[in-house]
């Protein structure tokens, strides 16, 4: 059994190609069923976001799985393979698992540590599960991946700090104000960046927005977006009295706010006054920052915060990378154990059958046994069986994690003569679309753990 990921993302393909490979939510179930019905593919999950399109598949042959995954993309999107093949990446087995863990942790995202992707992968998995295109392997893998993603976001600060200038301003504001709910934003000028910053404050809870601009019409246009109030530029001093957060982005050549303008405002204030100067040349005299309870941050300061946050995210990413390695190893071990389960089940069933047969013989030869004596005998014979089996089971589990796994499984089947038990399992009707493989390659033999597709 092989795990494969075939896809493209923001690193390998530009948006004009990515947009042609987007699965819409309503056509995804159909796409999943179509992909699952392709030759060699037994389980599949499709992750489709604005930054990536990835097919996760479990297949019985690597080459065939890869071929039919690409063929599916070609036929579904009606784009010749030659056009998109150079932008595709294909990762196999351990690499594919590792890649999925990177994706859910946000380490493969455009902005390291973003949290949205975790929800998107979760939705993709649940959709696939709902369509019945996942089985034992992907049920385990995606649950493990989602748990890892949650852990990354709760136990690290990877996604907690702003990585854009406008969000950085909001984050700074949170260090001054407990809440923005009763705060007034004063937006000076009609710059795009200023408006975006005001928009973030508004989204963070600020209810009142005052817009000042030299052209009143423009101020009114912007104010209407926030259900705010537009004022002419000569009302600057009055507006300053009402403001808690001032965002300035005019095209003025000289500072429009100086220490002398701001000082009188502070006499009646109890809470801090936060100035964000996004304009270049700057609108606010840097000396304003020296006043008590006043904090002035310009565009460079905000960029500095973004850089610090990015490097913090990178530090956290190193921690997450170690977890990913551990999780990948854990999954590999689980996967390897998966092959040994049918053998152990067969051995146990055979041993218990022998025990039951022996008990029946004893009961025939000693008909006077009381119920209590029979119980004791049954318990003791089972105990002998369990003790005898304990070591071989432990050893075969250990061998399952080594490179000599296949030889060990063959030997195990031969020594304990399990061919008959495994054949019986093979002959059972495939009521649950159980994938059954030859026991000559016991890793693929289906036993208690069915690999449904």
């Amino acid at each position: 059994m092989y795990i494969l990921v075939v896809g493209l993302n923001h690193k390998t393909a530009k948006v004009d190609l990515r947009e042609r490979f987007a699965f819409s939510a309503h056509e995804l179930p159909m796409a999943l069923r179509t992909l699952r019905d392709m030759k060699s593919i037994m389980e599949c999950v499709i992750v489709s976001t604005c930054n990536r399109m990835e097919l996760y598949v479990v297949c019985d042959q690597l080459h065939t799985g890869e071929y039919y995954s690409k063929a599916f993309l070609e036929s579904w999107f009606r784009i010749p393979k030659e056009e998109f093949e150079p932008y595709l990446y294909v990762k196999e087995n351990q690499q594919a698992v590792n890649h999925l863990f990177h994706v859910v942790s946000g380490l493969d995202s455009l902005v390291i540590g973003e949290t949205q992707i975790l929800g998107q992968v979760r939705t993709a998995f649940l959709t696939a599960q709902g369509e019945g295109t996942t089985g034992t392997i992907f049920n385990m893998l995606f649950k493990q991946a989602i748990t890892l993603g949650k852990r990354v976001h709760t136990e690290t600060e990877i996604g907690q700090n702003a990585v854009s200038v406008s969000y950085a301003a909001v984050e700074l504001g949170k260090k001054m104000f407990e809440s923005f709910e009763d705060k007034t934003i004063l937006l000076i000028g009609a710059g795009e960046m200023g408006e975006l910053t005001a928009k973030h404050f508004h989204a963070a809870g600020a209810t009142r927005v005052i817009v000042l601009n030299r052209t009143l019409e423009k101020a009114q246009e912007i104010a209407s977006r926030f259900k705010g109030e537009a004022r002419s530029f000569d009302q600057l001093a009055d507006s300053l009295q009402e403001a808690d957060i001032v965002v300035s982005s005019t095209g003025a050549k000289e500072p429009i706010l100086t220490k002398e303008n701001v000082e009188p405002v502070l006499r009646n204030r109890r809470s801090p006054l936060f100035f964000i100067d996004i304009a270049v040349p700057r609108d606010i005299d840097p000396a304003v920052h020296d006043l008590d309870q006043v904090f002035l941050y310009d565009i460079d300061d905000l960029h500095g915060i973004v850089d610090a946050n990015l490097s913090l995210r990178e530090q956290e990413a190193k921690k997450v990378a170690v977890w990913i390695e551990e999780e990948t190893k854990e999954f590999q071990e689980w996967l390897q154990m998966l092959g040994v389960v049918p053998l152990i089940t067969a051995l146990r069933e055979k041993a218990l059958a022998v025990q039951e047969e022996t008990m029946a013989r004893i009961e025939r030869k000693l008909p006077d046994l009381t119920e209590r004596e029979k119980r004791v005998l049954r318990k003791q014979t089972k105990s002998i069986v369990n003790q005898l089996l304990r070591d071989p089971i432990v050893r075969i589990k250990e061998l399952a994690a080594t490179s000599k796994r296949d030889e060990a499984f063959d030997l195990f089947v031969q020594i304990f003569a399990l061919e008959e038990q495994l054949e019986e399992k093979q002959e059972k009707p495939a009521a649950s679309s159980t994938l059954v493989k030859s026991f000559s390659n016991p890793t693929l033999v289906d036993g208690k753990v069915s690999i449904s597709s």
């Binding site: 260090k175 001054m176 109890r270 904090f295 610090a308």
Partner: protein, 272 residues
Amino acid sequence: MFAERWLYDFLIYLYALSLLFSFSDLLYPNPRSRYLSNALLVGVWLIQSTSFIFEMFSIWSVSIQVDALFIYSWALVTFTLVINGLYRRMDLFAFCSNLIGFTVLAFHLFFARDLSMEYTKLLLSELGFVHISFSILSYAAFSLSSICSALYLMNNYLLKKKKWNKFLMRLPSLDRLQIFSRYLVLIGTPLLCVAMILGFIWIYQLIGRLFWYDLKIWASFLVLVVYGFVLYQWVANRWNGRRLAWWNTLAFLSILLNVVISGTHVSFHHWF
């Protein structure tokens, strides 16, 4: 005796572990450490409260082992648990107040355990009991208020210097720190005022005018004046920001002076 010692040692270990996890969470934010620290602190509070209740029941017959420092530490833990439970991002505040609470408790358990006779006598009087409990609660409120002001100064310094780092991220907002420090002073000042009036009445009945010779009374008066001044400047002269925070932080020295005077045995208030 052994059982009692064992319980006190257990309490100290529990408190130390809580502090350790809290410190680890400050350095490397981790919900498990935070959870463990809080759970252990709840454990500390439960043991303290249980000891406190048991001692209250035996007040009338057995000598008291719970003294003022013990109750002060209990009050700090209680305030911290309430504030930490109600507000987010108060980890640093909780750590600072627990550090003081732990130091005081450790001091009480290892050095000041034989000083309770006079305190017992005092507690036997209802007037004395109200005087002591109000005083301790006011000291706890003042201590927490000063912690908030110290954190305010740190936050203000980092924002002024534009030093965006993990420490700043852990600090509560200036607004919250300012409000907490003000309201804690607002709670503490009338409590201490009432406690001192009751104390005067009670001690006057016992020893007459001689109580003026006790340094501790003057030190308590200093606490009242200093925090009263802070409160007055905030309300009447609308002081706020850095200036008020500095005053409020330095006001904590008056509480430390109180502890020193109590420890020098020059006062009849040996217990605090």
